[in-house]
């Protein structure tokens, strides 16, 4: 890179940061004067009101179910889409159209899909599941298609070379390479979807988010903190289990 363009680049980044600083009304003074309110907020959350533990667990379980079902369905839907979005398995026109469509739908986050599906099918966990399915399908299809493109053709050829049938080549040449990667990506998205599904309740999509939002609105901070604690424990448990599983797969 030339000297001029390096200085030009540094200047452009600095200008963008300053502009953002100004536009977002960042103010150290407001942060300092707000600090007591934050402390007060935390103080009011303590001690947690454990009488709502049952509700919190119920919400957490529902969030887990939304993430589980949504991720599983998305993983299945993503496989044919990934095959159509990989350069080495799809004709050029199909590759182009599938990639473009996936990029368009992946630009919208789960929460926005939830708003759409709540309007379409009504409140509850069901629109939450649909939202998770649509967004996760686009993400997994992209990850899967990249794994397909990165697959080593050598072992596939070796299985062909022993006189195996097409189905046997898929089972012994392709599946051992892609299977663990697909499962690993799916587990990773499941971890992420627990977090995404936890806020779906804010827009009527069911799960633990509904309780967080309700108690905060009712200014019942001790109850809200119980729900948050349950959420934290659940997320940590899922992360721990899932990352252990992923480490064993690859």
């Amino acid at each position: 890179m030339s000297r001029v363009s390096r200085w030009g680049g540094a200047f452009a980044i600095a200008a963008a940061l300053l502009w953002s600083l100004w536009s977002t009304e960042v103010s150290a003074g407001r942060l300092v004067s707000g600090a007591p309110f934050m402390l007060d907020f935390i103080r009011r959350m303590l001690p947690p009101d454990l009488s709502v533990l049952g509700q919190a667990l119920h919400g957490a379980l529902q969030t887990l179910q939304i993430a589980l079902l949504g991720t599983a369905v998305a993983a299945i839907l993503a496989i044919p889409l990934a095959l159509s979005a990989a350069r080495n398995t799809a004709p050029r026109w199909l590759f182009y159209w599938t990639r473009s469509a996936l990029n368009v739908f992946r630009a919208i986050d789960t929460l926005v899909y939830a708003l759409f599906f709540v309007a379409a099918v009504g409140l509850g966990p069901f629109p939450g599941v649909l939202a998770v399915v649509v967004y996760t399908t686009t993400v997994l299809a992209k990850l899967f298609s990249e794994a397909i493109e990165a697959m080593d053709p050598g072992p596939v050829e070796a299985v062909q070379a022993v006189g195996a049938t097409g189905v046997q080549v898929l089972r012994w040449g392709v599946l051992p390479q892609l299977g663990p990667e697909f499962v690993s990506f799916t587990l990773y998205r499941f971890e992420t979807n627990i977090r995404a599904a936890a806020v779906l309740g804010f827009v009527g999509g069911g799960g633990i988010g509904f309780y967080i939002q309700t108690y905060l609105r009712l200014l019942n901070y001790p109850a809200a903190s119980t729900v948050l604690l349950v959420l934290i424990v659940m997320v940590m448990l899922v992360d721990f289990t899932s990352s252990r599983l992923r480490a064993r797969l690859i």
Binding site: D152, P155, A158, A161, G163, Q168
Partner: protein, 247 residues
């Protein structure tokens, strides 16, 4: 055993890998293909088991056509032709035993192969092949935990368990050091003598070919420029084969 007639291969890029190649290999022969990289050694070997479709010419293996064969016909030919790859082409995450059992796929049915339920006899054959290449005891190791030389031995065991008539080896030693190359050449020589297996191995190292081959075929720019026993490969002939084609 192998008949190659007027074989030509032109790749879509326009490059010519093989140019009117004819070759006869009798049952039980041990042939080494030599030539600089890009001479067409790989293309020739890969054409013989149908991994590459030639542009013109014909190939038969044991009287069965390879070129123009139906899908089933090609599979039947491949089942009796073992292929050893330069980069081993093992399934890295699978066990050594499973990699070798892949060589039995042409003999087992659809459902057992999908469910990975290999018949006891085939598993025993795979274990025997592993003993033969000197890897007894490593059956349950993941393939990618083995050294390069061991991985190539797994590749050879996978080919042997097919119980092939022909063994094709595409620069099997080029990823290995000289000492390992010798021991693997000994192994190929051994199966050639003991099983009467027809072997064609391409090599990029001349002295290995001189030591182990019965017949040396020299390729240069897609054409056969030499064919004879090792003594016939004089320095002048070697110079002709390996002369810098870029000049």
């Amino acid at each position: 055993m192998i008949q190659v007639r007027h074989l030509s291969k032109r790749y879509p890029s326009g490059s010519v890998a093989l140019d009117d190649v004819s070759l006869d290999v009798a049952a039980g022969e041990f042939v080494t293909l030599i030539g600089p990289s890009g001479a067409g050694k790989s293309t020739l070997l890969r054409s013989i088991n149908g991994l590459v479709a030639p542009s013109a010419g014909s190939i038969t293996v044991n009287g069965e056509p390879v070129t123009g064969a139906s899908r089933e016909g090609l599979r039947a030919v491949r089942a009796r032709v073992g292929f050893v790859f330069q980069h081993f082409n093992l399934l890295k995450r699978l066990s050594v035993l499973d990699n070798v059992r892949v060589g039995t796929l042409s003999r087992i049915g659809l459902w057992p192969s999908l469910a990975a339920r290999f018949p006891e006899g085939e598993t025993e054959r795979a274990r025997r092949a592993l003993r033969r290449v000197g890897l007894a005891g490593l059956e349950d190791r993941r393939a990618d935990t083995l050294s390069g030389g061991q991985q190539q031995r797994v590749g050879i065991a996978r080919a042997l368990v097919q119980e092939p008539r022909v063994l094709l080896a595409d620069e099997p030693m080029s990823s290995l050091d000289p000492a390992l190359s010798r021991s693997l050449m000994e192994l190929l020589r051994h199966v050639n003598r003991e099983d009467g297996l027809t072997v064609i191995a391409s090599l990029h190292v001349l002295d290995l070919a001189m030591t182990y081959a019965e017949r040396i075929v020299g390729l240069r720019a897609g054409r056969i420029v030499h064919d004879g026993p090792p003594p016939s490969l004089t320095p002048a002939v070697a110079g002709l084969i390996f002369e810098d084609t870029r000049a």
